[in-house]
């Protein structure tokens, strides 16, 4: 039985609305989503080999949120993330080799093998930090926005959270303070209806998450999380608001993860959700629906897609080879950076 159905209207509304958009940009959105999908699939394919001794929280099915959001940000804007970091990191422009080295626990990983997959960071592109504690990054991103406000920068910070994150008290405290100080922060909530294997209904009363956020007096919207253009547009508006001193925005994006909460493969068969639910959402796969949309608009075709695919896989396999050939940390590395001078 399908507990959480797709309620969006797909991309058709966009057919007449591409005027303002640069074609290269529209294609880039597809490539970025495809790239994340292929990287995740390759990670998943290899995970059982136990070379990546780190938890993984795949974003297969959730590519449109990361890509649509980050496409509206500048490199200088800061992105904060949770345990589900892969899509955020890659969409923000994080270095793939450094990511895979981290996931292989190598000394040249993006966090020197101290962080693992839940702590992907690349400061050079504004991938600023994460927390493996649900809700932990919310006040931190809010504080980053306070810093920007105090420093007079028009930098925006964005934090990705999940539906369950809104149950944490600190989520409310973050919204209250962001609203109070009109901070340039965007709370991006990927509502995938589950927390690990717990459905929304066992954790929250019937209520609209984005309306709860609105009760703090900030702008709050819901957009189709499978629709990269909707996500991009909503984020662009939020970014504009933030830069103009209009304060914080909350964006709720219903979306679905096609895999288990953690690890490789789907786990719907264990019974906490109906495989038919996943299949229904796979029909509105953000990557495929957008490809069909672009193809229909004559902006891409199968050969181009195949070339893209090949390019990406070449990059990915090279990055895996690089990671596997990278050195492990040594004992002395354990003791550095406990304190900063």
């Amino acid at each position: 039985m399908i507990k959480y159905a797709y309620s969006g209207s797909g991309l058709k509304d966009w057919e007449g609305r591409l005027a303002g958009y640069d074609k290269k940009f529209l294609v880039r959105l597809f490539r970025d989503m495809l790239r994340i999908r292929l990287i995740e699939e390759e990670i998943e394919r290899r995970y059982h080999q136990d070379q990546m001794k780190t938890p993984i929280h795949l974003v297969i099915g959730q590519e449109a949120t990361s890509v649509g959001c980050c496409a509206a940000l500048l490199k200088e804007d800061l992105l904060y993330s949770s345990h589900r970091t892969h899509g955020n990191y890659l969409a923000k422009g994080g270095d793939l080799k450094a990511m895979l080295c981290e996931m292989h626990c190598r000394i040249n990983g993006c966090a020197g093998s101290r962080g693992g997959s839940m702590h992907l960071i690349d400061k050079s592109v504004g991938m600023a930090g994460t927390s493996a504690i649900v809700g932990g990054a919310m006040p931190i991103a809010t504080g980053a926005a306070l810093a920007a406000q105090l420093q007079g920068l028009d930098r925006v910070s964005v934090v990705f959270i999940g539906d369950a994150t809104t149950e944490q008290g600190v989520a409310s405290e973050s919204l209250n303070f962001a609203a109070l100080k009109r901070l340039p922060v965007i709370f991006f909530c990927e509502n995938n209806f589950y927390s690990v294997q717990s459905p929304l209904a066992t954790r929250q009363p019937p209520r609209e998450i984005y309306k709860w956020a609105a009760s703090y007096g900030i702008a709050s919207v819901r957009v189709d999380g499978t629709n990269v253009l909707d996500v991009h547009e909503a984020t662009r508006e939020a970014v504009a608001r933030a830069r103009e001193g209009g304060g914080a925005t909350f964006i709720e994006a219903p979306v679905y993860r096609f895999r288990a909460h953690g690890g490789a493969g789907d786990d719907s068969h264990t019974g906490y959700r109906d495989p038919a639910e996943r299949e229904a959402w796979e029909k509105v796969c953000p990557v495929e629906t957008y490809y069909q949309f672009l193809a229909k608009a004559g902006l891409i075709d199968a050969t181009q897609r195949e070339r893209m695919h090949a390019e990406i896989m070449h990059e990915v396999l090279e990055a895996f080879d690089y990671a596997l050939a990278s050195p492990n940390p040594e004992e002395k590395d354990l003791y550095t950076h406990v304190y900063s001078d």
Partner: protein, 345 residues
């Protein structure tokens, strides 16, 4: 999800002999304790993130919701502080909540309710209110658990009046201490360790309790006293076995409960051996190792023939990578090395 469960599955400990009794897995032993408590006392209820999901908290809550209903065995919102307060309020009004956490790290969100409320009401109300509740969590380790998913926080709580702290190391104790904790009229923390979850052991059927505050000798010996609990004790026993081949005869005490602490058994042993090594799954600084080491200097000074030693974690956050983890976590070899130094002189 306890992604390091995969890792846990691969751990092997010496398997007990079925002839001498019923052999049961660690998680199953806890499951039995919860089952018995739920059947025995309508005031008992079990809650926690995922206690009714397919994983069933390592299997410790398997079958319970089916048997006792969704009102008494239920999943919770992601609200550790709030749910800790909910448990406290329920416990103050005739219930006996068992609040289960996937990792102790998540209990840090609830310190205000635990440290400043649950542990204090009985005292603040001059004994009018009791707060019989159990807070359970399984320490994480390995597979990139890292700094935020592997913390042993018993040392942070040791000084807090009104709390009891339990750390079992065998399936027998896990069941008996859980039943004792549920029956206790105070807030009791039970810190399990993931790496014990698949351990097998002798577990009697039916109801029995292991008294809180009583340690036990796991190994008798004359050369040195090693005290600790949980997985740290498991490692200490491995070390003691090694040392025995070298003719070093270590006495190993499983504290089982850290608060209240069984000072008598430590003092009794120390009187014989004159040498004390304290092991813990947490940071060596300022926690369990420090308290017991200080007690030796304070109360058993005249028994001591050599400096006290402690083997816990260095004053460093947990690294995620397995290579670094190998250097971070003390193993049997590390412990044996320390013991050799201690008995040499």
């Amino acid at each position: 999800m306890p992604w390091d469960e995969g890792l846990v599955n691969s751990l092997v400990y010496d398997t007990p002999d079925p002839k001498t009794g019923r052999v049961l897995g660690y998680a199953k032993a806890i499951n039995e304790a919860l089952d018995i408590a739920l059947a025995h006392d309508p005031g008992v209820f079990v809650l926690g993130q995922g206690v009714d999901d397919p994983g069933r908290m390592f299997g410790t809550t398997k079958g319970l919701q089916e048997k006792y209903g969704a009102a008494r065995v239920f999943d919770t919102p992601l609200s550790e502080e709030g749910m800790m307060g909910v448990c406290t309020g329920a416990a103050m009004n005739g219930m006996r909540p068992v609040y289960m956490h996937n990792r102790p790290d998540f209990i840090l969100l609830a310190f205000n309710q635990l440290v400043t409320h649950a542990s204090k009401y009985h005292y603040m109300d001059n004994g009018q209110t009791t707060v019989p509740m159990v807070v359970w969590a399984a320490i994480g380790r390995g597979w990139g658990s890292g700094a935020q998913h592997s913390q042993s926080i018993q040392g942070l709580l040791l000084g807090v009046p009104g709390l009891k702290i339990v750390m079992p190391s065998t399936p027998y104790d896990a069941k008996g201490l859980m039943l004792a904790a549920i029956a206790d009229n105070n807030p009791v923390l039970i810190f399990e360790h993931r790496w014990l979850m698949k351990k097998d052991g002798m577990v009697p059927e039916g109801f029995y309790t292991v008294p809180l505050g009583k340690g036990v000798y796991r190994r008798r010996g004359k050369d040195i006293t090693i005290v600790g609990a949980s997985h740290a004790l498991e490692v200490a026993l491995q070390a003691a076995a090694k040392l025995a081949d070298e003719g070093i005869d270590a006495e190993v005490i499983d504290l089982r409960t850290l608060k209240p602490l069984d000072e008598q058994i430590i003092s009794e042993s120390l009187k014989m051996t004159g040498r004390l090594l304290v092991v813990d799954t947490g940071w060596a600084m300022g926690g369990v190792c420090a308290e017991i080491g200080c007690l030796a200097a304070e109360k058993w000074f005249h028994y001591l023939k050599a400096p006290v030693r402690r083997v816990g974690l260095p004053d460093v956050p947990t690294p995620a990578g397995y290579t670094l983890e190998q250097f971070y976590y003390p193993d049997a070899q590390k412990i044996s090395g320390v013991v050799r130094e201690m008995v040499k002189k």
